[in-house]
């Protein structure tokens, strides 16, 4: 059974990975077989300089979901490369690194630093960052998305993945813009802008006032977006949004995703990606499939 997949020249042993910001538990767990079986690991988004993150409360639970506003707490790219990256590489599975920045120059500078660090399978651009000129997120503008992708592609030795926000009128348009600018893959989707209110205090339940909704609650919308986008682009999609079980992952693959990432559910069941991988293999066996490509995009229209 062939379950390996490719993004540009990078090969992944299987299609199951983790969404950025949901993996990076205590490093002592990196040795676990449930981690070593992943198709790739993707640590939390890194920025050029260290960020301390948002004030509490940073998360709240909602029906079948959660809202978060962590604020990309991270040690900055230099410390990430020095302290965290070596441990991630030691796991022995492909490493993808998620980066975010406030300008195209900073994105390019980070890509250069990652070139120098060596040994990555891909870099993912977290484009859910403010576009200072337009007062919207980069990933909410086809033009801004294309500009960042183009700039990073010009310097990066690794395949470049554009991670898109679902908070747009037409996500297909943004995906096409990213592809035209040279992106090697699309990650979709990031969290949905959301809020929850404590009615007793009449305050937001999130310190940052609003946050991003994730978890099983968003899955049907994410599946629809992947299914709409996949036939319109040639590059692979990493599908994510509320994946908790094998069936959830299968929905994304059938909708046209080449890889699937478990996000929020890692917080509930850290073994979920492992269980999903076993489940996908069992499904393929039952349906007498010998290659994962028979499954990808197999939706009947």
């Amino acid at each position: 059974m062939n379950i390996s997949v490719k993004i540009a020249h990078s090969v992944f042993p299987n299609p199951v990975t983790v969404a950025s910001g949901t993996f990076g538990h205590s490093e002592e767990l990196y040795a676990a077989k449930e981690v070593k079986c992943l198709g790739a690991v993707m640590p939390k988004t890194v920025t050029l300089h260290a960020q301390e993150g948002n004030p509490p409360r940073r998360i709240c639970e909602t029906p079948s979901g959660m809202i978060n506003a962590i604020g990309i707490e991270n040690p900055g790219i230099d410390r990430f490369i020095a302290d965290k990256l070596p441990k991630l590489k030691k796991i022995g599975v492909p490493v993808m690194v998620s980066i975010s920045a406030h300008s195209e120059d900073d994105f390019a500078l980070m890509a250069e630093k990652l070139n120098a660090a060596g040994g990555l399978a891909a870099i993912e651009l977290n484009l859910s960052c403010p576009n200072l000129q337009k007062k919207i997120l980069v990933a909410q503008s086809a033009e801004a998305t294309a500009a960042v992708v183009k700039r990073v592609k010009a310097v990066s030795q690794y395949p470049v993945i554009a991670k898109l926000t679902p908070n747009v009128t037409d996500i297909v348009e943004i995906a096409i813009a990213a592809e035209s600018a040279g992106a090697d893959a699309i990650s979709m989707v990031n969290t949905f802008a959301a809020m929850a209110i404590d009615v007793h205090k009449r305050r937001s339940r999130i310190g940052n006032f609003t946050g991003g909704l994730s978890g099983p609650a968003i899955r049907p919308i994410a599946v629809r977006m992947v299914c709409q986008t996949a036939p319109r682009i040639k590059i692979p999609i990493i599908g994510m949004g509320g994946i908790a079980t094998t069936n959830d992952a299968l929905e994304f693959l059938i909708a046209g995703a080449t890889m699937v990432a478990v996000g929020t559910y890692n917080f509930v069941n850290p073994k979920a990606p492992f269980e999903i991988l076993q489940g996908i293999k069992a499904y393929m066996k039952t349906h007498k499939m010998t290659d994962i490509r028979e499954l990808i995009g197999s939706i009947q229209r």
Binding site: G24, H25, S26, A32, S64, F267
Partner: protein, 257 residues
């Protein structure tokens, strides 16, 4: 993950007074590993409601069994109250940083607890039976029904002093009114667990009197493993996760707004 994520069988669920329930797990490996102040993170239902696991301090860990106390008021703990003997639960643990054991030179150990916050101190006092220090518990609760286990503490050689909002047991007032029981002239170690205003009062008292101590903090938690950074609280070292850097922190590290 084999070691920290396990399925355990419920051996009993009992309502212990008007407010609190006790759930006992048949969990020999967990009982052996867990240290006072650490917590276990329980998936309380099979579906996505509620989504997050729920963290519980371990109340007692002995003879292959682990006990937790809870008040079934939230979306998660209500599920636990309905568990029956023989049900199984998916448990992550033990998690978090435990309390630092008092050194041999410590002459007085002071547990300061509010409501359900008393839970970790039972296990702690079990483990300190051989320690020569005087052990006292200053315990605050809303009413008599919000206090429990006084006799168990007495059996462990812990002198208990209680304050309730309505005076239904102990003195009427806040637990801070019991602070004069603390021997500020001695080598004293304080351990606190309870609501934030109580923790703040303890931290301020410790600073004023130059006493050492630790506090077990609480925050809404998702992963329990230091991955999501959702349960971070402000400390003198920057934001720190309650689940992984804590739940036990030095009193002087904590910043209360």
């Amino acid at each position: 993950m084999k070691d920290i994520q396990q399925t355990y069988m419920v051996s009993s669920v009992a309502q212990v007074n008007a407010t609190y329930f006790c759930l006992t797990l048949d969990a020999p490996a967990l009982a052996k590993q867990v240290k006072p102040g650490q917590f276990i993170h329980i998936k309380v239902s099979d579906g996505f409601e509620p989504l997050f696991r729920r963290p519980f301090s371990v109340y007692r860990a002995q003879k292959g069994r682990v006990e937790i106390f809870f008040e079934p008021v939230g979306r998660g703990s209500k599920f636990l109250a309905e568990k029956k003997k023989g049900d199984t639960l998916d448990v992550l643990g033990p998690l978090g940083k435990p309390f630092t054991l008092p050194g041999k030179n410590v002459k007085q150990v002071v547990f300061i607890a509010g409501g359900i916050g008393v839970a970790p101190f039972m296990m702690f006092s079990d483990r300190l039976k051989g320690h020569k220090a005087e052990k006292i518990l200053l315990y605050g609760g809303r009413t008599k029904a919000h206090t429990f286990a006084m006799n168990e503490f007495k059996k462990n050689g812990v002198k208990t002093f209680v304050a309730t909002d309505d005076g239904s047991v102990g003195i009427q007032g806040r637990v801070s009114e019991l602070f004069p029981k603390i021997d500020i002239a001695s080598t004293t170690m304080m351990y606190a667990c309870g609501p934030k205003p109580m923790m703040k009062a303890v931290a301020e008292f410790a600073k004023e009197k130059g006493l050492r101590g630790e506090a077990s903090m609480e925050e809404i938690m998702a992963c329990g493993l230091g991955a999501c950074l959702g349960c971070s609280i402000p400390t003198t070292k920057g934001y720190r996760t309650v689940c992984h850097d804590g739940p036990v922190f030095n009193l002087e590290e904590l910043i209360f707004s």
